[in-house]
């Protein structure tokens, strides 16, 4: 029975692009319907949204800046997914990174930029990794499912951050709860008008892709994600893989938070970036756990989020609709065709669900 392998591969390739596009189209259509119900003009809304996001160099710069933490958090979720873990804690890991880097940014004095900035970034990455590995350790050693622990940690970090921003880390003389602004020696500079963070993010994505494709470490994580038993049998330490992926994932998310803090916001505020982590999950699922596919998704999301304000201004539509549209995109992408397709490509083992006791 001769099968046309190249045709099969072509079909798969087309499918992998076609379906997200269809999902986007349907989601936008429903969004348009919602806008109509509110009495607004959807065409005008979409037009202003996209022209603001992609139509000018200032707009593109903003889009890329917004996309940066999304790429990184999407990458964090992706790496964990590859290892069979569903890391919903990116939000908390990101916040931990933001908080830590903000502190390092204002509390450490007298260092030149090329020392201070890396240190601040390191703080962010480290504390994000720490947050991640708590959930990882609970899973590896106690068998606690990472979905619940990471969500709990999200709230914990949020509360901790609030406490610190209202208390010990509070900017003196300020009513608002926030940390003092980070020193200029810790701020990420712009390069040719484009946010540097974006290029860091792309590089990280490429590195991640390469690691999974070409290295033994990537092979180990991937095998654990697909068949824990076979992985153990092949001599791969499942526990170590879980710990590593949660550490790296958390670290990436922390780095994303640090880049956002040091490059854009300049301090830690409790109202920081409410949805970055969850967008990261959506983007990772949209990209079907492929590190490179995270990039276009992040750019789209970043563009839409960044341009929400101008859409409201131009067409009177509340930016909340973007939440809805993105949620719908996720829904339609992970819809039936995809569900079955994921199974045939990744096999029955690509299931992150396994019950709660390991």
């Amino acid at each position: 029975m001769v099968r046309d392998e190249s045709k099969e591969l072509r079909v798969k390739y087309v499918r992998s692009w076609l379906l997200p596009v269809i999902a986007l189209a349907i989601a936008f259509a429903i969004g348009a319907l919602m806008m109509k119900l509110q009495g607004a003009n959807p065409l005008k809304a979409y037009e202003s949204l996209f022209s603001s996001a992609f139509g000018s160099s200032a707009g593109i710069s903003k889009t890329l800046g917004k996309a940066t933490p999304l790429i990184i958090s999407g990458l964090a979720v992706t790496i964990c997914l590859r290892a069979g873990l569903f890391n919903i804690g990116v939000q908390g890991q990101l916040l931990a990174g933001a908080l830590a880097s903000a502190w390092a940014g204002y509390a450490i004095h007298g260092l030149p930029l090329f020392i201070h900035l890396p240190i601040a970034l390191f703080f962010g990455t480290f504390f994000g990794a720490l947050t991640g590995i708590i959930a990882g350790a609970l899973k590896a050693y106690r068998g606690v499912h990472e979905v619940i622990t990471t969500i709990m940690l999200n709230s914990l970090v949020l509360q901790l951050g609030e406490y610190l921003a209202y208390g010990p880390f509070k900017e003196p003389g300020q009513q608002l709860a926030r940390t003092p602004e980070v020193l200029s020696s810790a701020k990420i500079p712009d390069l040719f008008g484009m946010p540097v963070g974006f290029f860091i993010a792309i590089t990280l994505a490429v590195i991640a892709w390469w690691i999974f494709k070409k290295t033994t470490s990537g092979f180990r994580l991937e095998t654990v994600g697909r068949n824990k038993n076979a992985a153990w049998y092949a001599g791969i330490s499942v526990k170590r893989s879980i710990l590593i992926s949660m550490f790296v994932g958390g670290g990436l998310a922390g780095l994303g938070g640090a880049i956002e803090t040091l490059g854009v916001v300049g301090r830690y505020e409790p109202a920081f970036n409410a949805g970055l982590g969850f967008d990261g999950i959506t983007i990772a699922l949209l990209g079907r756990a492929n590190p490179l596919a995270v990039i276009p998704g992040a750019i789209l999301f970043g563009g839409m989020r960044g341009a929400g304000g101008s859409m409201q201004f131009a067409a009177g539509v509340s930016p909340d609709i973007i939440d809805l549209i993105l949620a719908l995109v996720l829904f339609f992408v992970t819809a039936p065709l995809i569900g079955k397709w994921i199974k045939t490509v990744r096999g029955n083992e690509a299931i992150t669900t396994g019950g709660w006791g390991n």
């Binding site: 068949n227 049998y233 092949a234």
Partner: protein, 503 residues
């Protein structure tokens, strides 16, 4: 002309890439025992599952007592008097015997289950068919033979007109098989029609009134025990002459390579599965362990290969003790393992054949230099092995999950036997494998032996053990109860030993 009890007309069922059943018609009459014979993958299970509504045929008709049964209608099949004993037991492990038997048709008092009536019913059923069971026992604590009784009682609970048995003898000793065949004969005498699936020629000839042979999804012959014999049936099953005994020369046994001393191992329920086990296997010999499944074989193999903790005792390769609970290191010491559960331990189904062939060496040269994997080495290794081990696949990039059972097993065998190895532990190496692949794998094991490896064969298929082994050890209750020479082995004697009886 009586209406047949079961009438299948032109049943066809296709799966992606394979035609499981092609245009099959057969009938079973009241009081008749019809055997469905065929090798693994011939389509027998698929066909009877269609009768019971577990599989929806693409076309064809199923009539029971003349009534047309809708595809996929299990409840309907049950209502029309069909009972089925499944190859893999369909019992809920954590529930009691009673709960399992009454499931789906529970005696009630108002809205609630009438537990007392349920219990009484189970005891009455047990009496009627002479199959003793304890209604309150929890199924997962019961030995496999007992579980099968429950499976049978569950099927017989309603007055069945047609009983289907799917490979019922896999887990029984030769004596238990005889008892089961008697139960079947008695049922037939009382008017029940029996459709009996097996790939074991001996049983089929012993009990069937008619034999239907399936090959590659088609019915290729209908015959009776009088008209045919084992060779003839095997020929029909496979389509060519089949070598029923593997050809092997004399064993040239040398020094002891694998030593097991006083091994104690527990099973998943923390009960003793292997106790006081001693064994020596020599280079250049095949030692086969015969025994009914459930007597500790699985736990033994897992302990040897570093997959299950050793409570006491040691496993030595050329005098050096192997580490506990570290499959990779045990492998590095020279023990190759063909695992019993290839889906779970042997393969990653969604990986390519290429990757699967290096699953336990992926980080070693030439497949990786330090951190970087060597795609070229992977490819050439895969091409070589696919040819050498006759793995039927469109390409080396195909995912392993897409292969047939036999080819999947060949991937595992290729991987394990292509490495230099002192010991080969083969656990159920030909389970679920087609006859052609079985022959191939058997020859590979003999070749490994002739190359100086010590081969430990653990199999529930007595014929396989008899055919391959130079020496035979019979395992019962977690220890070896007898050693026999391969040449003198007497089926009946081994059967008694397997059942724990003295010779």
């Amino acid at each position: 002309m009586k209406t047949p009890l079961l009438e299948l007309t032109n049943i066809t069922k296709k799966y992606p890439g394979v035609i499981a059943n092609e245009d099959i018609s057969l009938t079973v009459n009241k009081g008749e025992i019809v055997a469905l014979l065929g090798e693994n993958g011939a389509g027998k299970s698929t066909l009877v599952k269609a009768v019971f509504g577990l599989v929806r045929p693409d076309s064809g008709e199923i009539r029971i007592n003349g009534h047309l049964i809708a595809p996929g209608d299990t409840a309907g099949a049950i209502a029309h008097g069909v009972g089925m004993v499944h190859q893999h037991f369909q019992l809920v492990p954590v529930m009691s015997v009673t709960d399992n038997i009454i499931l789906g048709d529970e005696p009630t008092r108002g809205l609630f289950i009438n537990k007392r009536a349920a219990r009484a019913e189970v005891l009455a059923l047990s009496e009627k068919y002479g199959l003793q069971v304890d209604p309150d026992a929890i199924v997962e604590n019961l030995p496999v033979g007992m579980q099968q009784r429950i499976e049978i009682l569950k099927a017989l609970r309603k007055d069945v007109d047609l009983l289907i048995l799917d490979e019922p003898t896999a887990v029984l000793t030769p004596q238990e098989i005889d008892e089961l065949l008697n139960v079947i004969r008695n049922l037939a005498k009382s008017g029940v029609g029996v459709l009996f699936i097996s790939h074991k020629l001996r049983e089929v000839i012993a009990v069937a009134d008619r034999i239907v042979v399936l090959r590659n999804g088609k019915a290729v012959g209908i015959t009776t025990p009088k008209e045919s014999d084992e060779e003839g049936l095997a020929h029909l099953m496979v389509g060519r002459d089949v070598v029923l005994q593997v050809e092997k020369g004399e064993a040239k046994a040398k020094e002891v390579v694998l030593s097991i001393r006083n091994l104690h191992v527990n099973d998943d329920r923390k009960l003793t599965a292997v106790t006081g086990f001693d064994l020596d296997v020599h280079a250049g010999e095949i030692l086969g362990i015969a025994g009914v499944e459930g007597n500790g074989q699985r736990e033994l193999v897992e302990a040897i290969c570093g997959m299950r903790p050793r409570i006491k005792g040691s496993v030595l390769v050329s005098g050096v003790e192997t580490p506990d609970m570290h499959p990779r290191r045990v492998h590095a010491m020279g023990i190759s393992h063909i695992p019993e559960d290839r889906e779970k331990h042997g393969l990653v189904a969604s990986y390519s054949i290429e990757d699967n062939l290096v699953l336990n060496q992926f980080d070693q040269p030439p497949f990786a230099k330090g951190w970087i994997r060597n795609a070229y080495a992977l490819e050439s290794n895969a091409n070589t092995l696919v040819k050498e081990f006759d793995i039927r696949t469109p390409s080396i990039k195909t995912t392993a999950g897409a292969l047939s059972g036999g080819n999947k097993q060949k991937v595992v065998v290729a991987r394990e036997l292509s490495q230099k190895t002192k010991v080969v532990v083969a656990a159920q190496p030909t389970r679920g494998v087609d006859v052609g692949s079985i022959e191939f794998i058997h020859n590979q094991l003999v070749a490994a032996r002739d190359n100086g490896a010590a081969v430990l064969l653990v199999s529930a298929e007595l014929d396989e053990v008899l055919s391959l082994s130079d020496r035979i050890a019979v395992m019962f209750g977690g220890k070896i109860v007898a050693f026999l020479d391969g040449k003198d082995a007497d089926r009946a004697k081994i059967g008694r030993l397997m059942a724990g009886l003295s010779e």
